[in-house]
Symmetry: C2
């Protein structure tokens, strides 16, 4: 149950068996079904979750009611509304399972206990947040400087197995374009091969 989590942690920091035991103890496994919402706009995000199995989307509803995807999370990714979780404030994001999924969850109070009892956890999340932030900076740059077809090619190159698990509408909502336009881009790209 904790295999994937331990592998993931090991990429950032070394923990002894005892330390990992202490780290993983406050996590509980939550199974969610496809289409189930884990977080809705306006709620306070009560969890930080590690995806053990499945696929989820973190999205935002704009003024016109259109959904824009901030990111997808599959096996090995973390999901939360970091702003809502860390400040225990109302969320502007929604989180929904796109497949039946299994999430290892930790609540806000337990995470704070972890920070206090196991100082390496501070380092771990400091490093993880830095990496996530660097990745988002690269996406921001891409969004500022590239056309939709370039961004689409970048997406399928960077996450080669993800596209098959997602509908085109979801991919379009991630790229920030209409699904009709993505359909046209795909047609054009297919011809070039």
């Amino acid at each position: 149950m904790y295999t994937l989590l331990r592998e993931n942690i090991a990429k950032h920091i070394y923990l002894t068996d005892d330390e990992f035991e202490q780290f993983s103890a406050p996590f509980y496994l939550q199974k969610v079904q496809r289409k189930q919402m884990l977080l809705r706009e306006g709620e306070i995000c009560k969890f930080e979750g590690f995806v053990n199995k499945g696929c989820l989307r973190v999205f935002y509803l704009d003024e016109s009611g259109f959904e824009k995807v901030l990111y997808f999370a599959v096996e090995g990714w973390w999901i939360t509304d970091i702003d809502s979780f860390t400040n225990q404030s109302a969320s502007i994001l929604n989180i929904e399972a796109l497949e039946d999924s299994e999430i290892l969850m930790i609540t806000f109070p337990y995470k704070n206990i972890l920070y206090d009892t196991l100082p390496k956890v501070e380092k771990l999340f400091r490093i993880m947040t830095q990496k996530t932030h660097a990745a988002l900076q690269r996406r921001m740059i891409s969004s500022l400087s590239k056309t939709a077809d370039k961004r689409y090619l970048e997406f399928i190159t960077k996450y080669p197995h993800l596209e098959q698990r997602l509908s085109q509408q979801q991919v379009a909502a991630y790229l920030g374009i209409s699904h009709e336009f993505l359909s046209k881009i795909r047609k054009k790209v297919a011809k070039l091969r």
Copy 2:
């Protein structure tokens, strides 16, 4: 010299006088002139800096040679290429002073010593990176879901004193639009007042 830095830190974490003394000791003050480059694409970012005075831009050169601004930093902001600094890898970003500026700098080895000797520094940078990340998420959402005029109004509302210190070309490079189009947006917005 350290007044602004201490105020900034205090927003995130409490440090005693001794702890702040220990924290600030490895920082040195660097004065840079307008138009001076602090980092160029391809170099390894050797510093993390706190802006004590002045204004700088962190920008990216796209394939067509256009500059896109990732962010501006004025008094109280931190500047670095977080990816290049933390991994000591080649940077894709450039950092340039837009005004004569004073930066409190710390190098990579000294920052690592700080992490080891003063564990609260882990917590401090974990919290700061989380907040910066949440802010970038909001900007990403804005970029995905809003038109340029909305993004411009959002920018001047959020950073009311910043626009006066920047050229329109810089603001346009931040918003991800051409400076000609920003000029047209400003004309339209001015009429509505």
